[in-house]
Symmetry: C2
Subunit: 174 residues, 2 copies
């Protein structure tokens, strides 16, 4: 599928609602569960997505529009949520993500990006030149990857409980 802004926005809009539908009101044994040392719980993942709204997608898109490849994006802190989410409840983080995402999409809409602008380049600190279109497609795929991760992390809590059915549930091992 080629990247298309009008196909992307409906997905970006719904991610906070999807995570709310998946997680809100669940016991903490689900939302704090992880896959072992160094892996993320659903709680950590929601915090990571909120940090991305503050530090990644719109800030980097703005850098491309304002500076092009003249200066590299600041590196993204993949551990920021452990600091930023401290002391918050999951319900607070879900509200925060929803508000931040709404603001991000308002900014995106205000730019009225055209095909030419999606080809504008920025400088990734590791990859070198990337386009605005690639950044925005990554935003969508990144959301979906973390939704899949939340489902997987919770499924894996039942790895033993399912008994022999484990053989038919690739999500538990792959």
């Amino acid at each position: 599928m080629n990247f298309d802004l009008s196909a992307q926005v409906p997905l970006l809009e719904r991610t906070p609602c999807v995570l709310r539908a998946m997680l809100e009101g669940l016991p903490r044994e689900w939302t704090d569960a992880d896959e072992g040392t160094g892996t993320w719980s659903p709680f950590a993942i929601v915090g990571h997505l909120a940090h991305g709204e503050r530090a990644n997608w719109i800030p980097r898109a703005r850098m491309i529009l304002e500076h092009g490849p003249a200066m590299p994006f600041p590196p993204f802190d993949r551990e920021a949520q452990f600091r930023e989410s401290a002391g918050k409840t999951l319900a607070e983080l879900l509200d925060e993500l929803a508000a931040l995402r709404t603001a991000s999409l308002e900014t995106l809409a205000s730019w009225r990006l055209d095909e030419r602008q999606l080809g504008l380049e920025g400088l990734h600190p590791e990859f070198g030149r990337v386009t605005l279109g690639q950044l925005l497609a990554t935003w969508v795929a990144h959301d979906l990857g973390h939704v899949a991760q939340v489902a997987r992390v919770m499924a894996r809590q039942y790895r033993e409980a399912v008994g022999p059915w484990r053989a038919y549930l690739p999500v538990l091992d792959r």
Copy 2:
């Protein structure tokens, strides 16, 4: 995590809402997308879950309660949705799944299962003896596995569009 009916029901209840949040109103380029020949689209997955309500979870649980391991479960048809979903819209399938799931959970609640009953056995046509608890844990893990699959299938449509970020998005390749 040990299997616990009270921790399971809140997850089973929300799956139709989660899929609705993920899919309702999206363009068909997302909901009919798949991962290549022989793989399933989000549309096919929702149909598969609806078929499971009709033919798998509650019917098999009832067999365990009524017959124990005296007779094997009928095999489950993993392709039934291609027949049953024909001519339906995704919105119709989402409504169908929600109604079927509500009815399933009403039946489950009416049984007021206790710890002893979760240990009752049935006969799986391939695995042999399985317990009611294993069947019910599988129901949860199966839901979550397919939610993860829906997100993954959609993410993979942007495998090329993300450019070099593909290296940071394991959902696109794993």
